[in-house]
Every structure is written in C-alpha cells, then in structure tokens.
C-alpha cells in the first residue's frame, strides 16, 4: 500500500520504526506513528500539532508515562535519597551525555533476537488500522496520494490507540484539527 505514500509519509513510517527502537519497543503502534509525524517538524501534520502545543518531546514523555514504563518516579527518587543517592543529579549528568530521556528507556522490554539484523518491527493491529484509515481519508478527499496529513487524519479517525490518548491529553480538539487538515492538505503531492 506504500506506493501511494508521499516521501514525507514514507519517512513517517521509517521514523516511527526508529522511535520504537529508541524506546526499546518491539512493535510499531499508533504512538510511534505519531512520534514519526512529529519527528518531521516541516510537515503540515507536525506544524498543526506543534501550534496546538504538542511537540516531539511532550509526545514522547506522555507516551512513556501512559505506558507506565517501570519506574524511577518521585517515590523512587525519595527512596534513593534515603541512601544518599540524588536521582535528579544522576539523570542530569546522564542526559547531558546520552540525551533526554536516556534513563527512561526500559532495556528489559527488549529481548535478544527481536531486532535481529536491524530488521522488521511489526505494526500493531491499531497501527495497521491507522494506515488503512489514512488511505480511506485520502479517498474521501479524492486525493490520489497519501501524505503526512492523511496519516494524522487516520490517527484521529482510529481514535482509540495510544496516539489518540496522547492527542487528547494535549487538549487537542479532534474535530477542529480534522477540519484544518481537510482544508490544508494539498490536493496534489507537494
């Protein structure tokens, strides 16, 4: 189905896979598609989300929180404090070297062999549904291509995955965003 995808839409899928790897997840879910969209700030989808206050950093933090990545939360920090370990100081140093959220990833979620050869990470059912819905959204708009905007319409239409929860948490008005996308997605690939 990817033959109708624009370059940006293809890149979204590639970056969704990168996001899954980075977070140590062995599947591509709707949340990774959202992160893929936000990883390309120049696209229409990303711009419409960023003006509503949802950027990549916020989305990734929210995804990790909603997944309940086992933790190093405030109570853990307090407990570590009782034995003289300052978790926030450690986080600060580690993130300075390895980047934001470096300590939030959960290595236990990955198992040897899952990513063998840097190869295929499967889509979840919901993520597949989003891809199908983005095609349907393109048909509805009588567009012959699938761009990043159609993928975002697909995420909104799917409405139940983790991406939709992140969008809802960010206070995004789905109907209004849909209307903006309907109006702004170019009828021919940019």
């Amino acid at each position: 189905m990817f033959e109708q995808f624009t370059q940006d839409a293809r890149q979204t899928v590639v970056l969704a896979q990168s996001a899954a790897r980075r977070l140590g997840h062995h599947y591509i879910g709707t949340e990774h598609l959202l992160l893929g969209l936000l990883s390309q700030p120049h696209t229409l989808a990303a711009r419409l989300l960023v003006v509503r206050g949802l950027d990549l950093a916020y989305a990734e933090t929210t995804v990790l929180r909603l997944l309940g990545t086992p933790g190093l939360d405030a109570r853990d920090a307090d407990a570590l404090g009782t034995i003289g370990i300052d978790l926030s100081a450690i986080k600060e140093k580690v993130e300075a070297t390895f980047g934001r959220g470096a300590l939030d990833r959960d290595p236990a979620h990955t198992r040897a062999g899952r990513f063998a050869g840097g190869g295929h990470i499967p889509f979840t059912k919901r993520a597949k549904k989003v891809l199908e819905l983005s095609l349907r959204e393109a048909l509805r708009l009588k567009h012959k291509h699938i761009a990043d905007g159609h993928l975002l319409l697909g995420l909104l239409r799917e409405g139940e995955g983790l991406a939709a929860k992140v969008l809802a948490e960010a206070g995004i008005d789905f109907a209004q965003l849909r209307a903006d996308l309907d109006r702004d997605i170019p009828a021919v690939p940019a």
Binding site: G71, L72, D76, A79, L80, V94, R111, A112, G113
Partner: protein, 77 residues
Amino acid sequence: MSDTAQLASDAGSRDPAVGLRAVRALRVLVERLEALQVENARDQNWSWQDIAACLDVTRQAVHKKYAGGRGLLRRGN
C-alpha cells in the same frame, strides 16, 4: 545533610518499604546505565571482550545479554 534531613533519612531507611524500594530503584538504575554504557562502547567499536572485562563478567554473559538483536545496541542502527 542537615540534622533534620538526616533524621528523616534515618527514619526512612528503617522502613523496609522505603529501603526495599531504594534497592529496586537502584537495580533499575544500574540496568539502564549498563545498557547505555554498553551501547556507547559498541558504538565506539569496543569488543565484547573489552566490555566484559570492564564489567567484570564473562564475554559470553555480556554478549548473551546485549548482542544479537537488541536494535538499540546493534552497530549501524
């Protein structure tokens, strides 16, 4: 540490729930730090042998834990 903080800390450390939570948190922290550092070492072309020597474990142990798949730690990813 101030006397007050020390008192709070001593009280906390006698509560098994707090003490055990600290141990668990420390374990999570160590696992994550190890994964980051092993990934970094592999990125800098360190051999499994060298990494194992630094961690004071066998090459097989570190290889089994980190090689052969974790996308995060594979070279070229």
